[in-house]
Symmetry: C2
Subunit: 344 residues, 2 copies
DNA sequence: GTGAAAGCGCTAACAT
DNA sequence: ATGTTAGCGCTTTCAC
């Protein structure tokens, strides 16, 4: 039976103070483990907090000090790789007073602006931006407003810290793996990019660069062959179709992302071909489904969990000391060799 | 060069009022589209807001009224089905002043309690809880504190609205599909459940129920065979091993979730069998990877997007009128027949 | 070590 | 229709 909505007023710091027979200042100090509260005072206050079931209001706190909230901007909640990063962030923040809140599906510059504004409006103590599309100028502006860590984007800033995998090396791992299997005509499908800043900073561009460099390093410069589409399943499908139509068909395709590789496999199947017997296929990201038996995709594992823990740690450091010089963490990816690649 | 951190004070409602030559009340009214502001007043205020780049502080608002924030609790960010729900929520909320913030990876009752507390502490205007494990009693308590919609859990409450797919029907779809293909020994892998409330409310239990009911309805009651493990890849692997060891091996396995079906496929492969030639396999959820060519899993599609839009709509309604009677929305799943099932 | 009191930026009740 | 003002719950000087 729906009892009449009892608008039980929230327990406030004043209630706690009264109950414990101390001042609100004292309660506030205990809450923040601040200096100037004797052990017996702490005990009294904590007892009162427990008895009354007091919980601090983040809004009220935010008006004066911290909100104990950290925002994470996630471009695409469907990419399981991002979940690894989140796990790392949560693991690092577990046990602290901080709560992680995620804003997802902001896959455009205006969408990202909306989300970052929302986080700033909510007085978040810090933000972690994952693979942002936002311009450098705006990123700097955000970072000057709130402690910021940018993940998965290369480039150096004086105001925010960065954490990223070394995509250049990762692309090299795939090329080395395929070359080691005897492949020479190794093609690549990249995410098309023209913006000059992004060409230098975005992972997709760095992967394509790493591919080119590694091909040269293995003496395969003449076989460099890039289909330029997008990092989507359809982009993979179209890219593979282009590559299959070449006079000299490649014997291996390195897709810039696992989801792209799925499209490649679809295109192969439609052409009556299969991996690895006809063509070897490799991806990038080691997303969850890459490991599934029927797929078993050779790919590059980015240390997602470590990316997350590093990002969270850097953010906490910056919240503590916002003027400390910025740090760039670069992690090493590893090869996950599976059954879509085979000797030529 | 890191210019000295300019602690530019945030533009406040007072600045706007002064700039526009009006009172703060006026500004507040314009912000909330409240009654009592003449068109020319509105124009003046909006102009001042734009010129100064004013943005309301959610903390300050929260202290008095709304925060324009909606919290979504997500048990597992890796299940792509949940992403569909989120898309639906975002689609419904797009264009409103509400910002969706997600708290993820709280896959335990204490974890859920932590997250819901955090949302309440932050004065969120409403919360959407997806497939919560939390007890009925606590759910009711939460819903009495903040407008709440519970998604993906059956059962009726007087204080919160619910949206769920009809898992009973969904399980029936799979059984009918397999029976139609001539299968009789159709086994099921369920997520083990003992708690009586959950037996009635949790989707996994309802799916198992639907399976039993449908088997009887097709005159296959004697072939009912359930392996009780967990909704994980490993649970699927172990469940399939149990089923394969039966004296009378099933000809079809209905896994309670797609991820479980992945484990089943692994177990089949390890036993030198394959789907569908040796055994038909079906899942539940129509997660993204189910559609990938090499997997092509027969499964049940829950109308995730619709679940999301409905949940968001109900939540907005309840925020507007918290005393309105609660609603239960039940949506119909559909069959996604693919290549892991075949005629006997 | 402790407490009184002044705000933080906003909303809403109450004048006018 | 518009303005004045008292808080919302907390943190933080600044006295004691």
């Amino acid at each position: 039976m729906p009892r009449p909505p009892v608008p039980t007023r929230r327990v406030t710091i004043i209630d706690v103070a009264r109950h414990a027979g101390v001042s609100t200042t004292a309660v506030s100090k205990v809450l923040r483990n601040a200096y100037g509260a004797s052990p017996q005072m702490q005990a009294k206050v904590r007892a009162a907090i427990d008895e009354l079931g007091y919980r601090p209001s983040a809004s009220a706190r935010g008006l004066r000090g911290q909100t104990y909230t950290i925002g994470v901007m996630l471009p695409d909640i469907r990419n399981p790789f991002f979940a690894d990063i989140l796990d790392g962030i949560n693991a690092q923040l577990d046990g602290t007073d901080y709560q992680v809140l995620i804003a997802a599906s902001c896959n455009s510059e205006p969408g990202e602006a909306h989300v970052t504004d929302a986080m700033i409006d909510r007085n978040m103590d810090g933000v972690i931006l994952i693979a942002p599309l936002t311009s450098r100028q705006r990123l700097d502006r955000i970072a000057r407003t709130v402690p910021t860590v940018v993940v998965g984007r290369h480039g150096h800033s004086a105001v925010y810290d960065t954490v990223a995998d070394d995509d250049f090396v990762g692309a090299g791992l795939i090329v080395a793996h395929l070359a080691g299997l005897g492949h020479r005509r190794i093609a690549h499908i990249e995410h098309h990019e023209t913006d000059p800043v992004r060409l230098a900073e975005m992972p997709n561009a760095v992967r394509a660069d790493g591919y080119r460099h590694a091909m040269h390093a293995h003496g395969l410069g003449e076989h460099i062959d890039i289909a330029s589409t997008t990092y989507t399943q359809q982009g993979g499908y179209l890219g593979a179709q282009q590559l299959l139509a070449r006079p000299q068909r490649p014997t291996a395709i390195f897709a810039g992302a696992d989801i792209v590789a799925m499209g490649v496999l679809d295109a192969l199947a439609d052409a009556g071909l299969s991996a690895p017997s006809d063509i070897s296929v490799a991806g990038y990201d080691n997303t969850t489904f890459a490991a599934f038996g029927p797929i078993s995709l050779t790919t590059v594992d980015q240390a997602g969990h470590q990316i997350g823990t590093n990002a969270a740690r850097l953010l906490l450091d910056r919240i503590t000391d916002s003027s400390r010089p910025t740090t760039q963490v670069k992690l090493s990816p590893t090869l996950a060799a599976r059954r879509t690649t085979a000797p030529l």
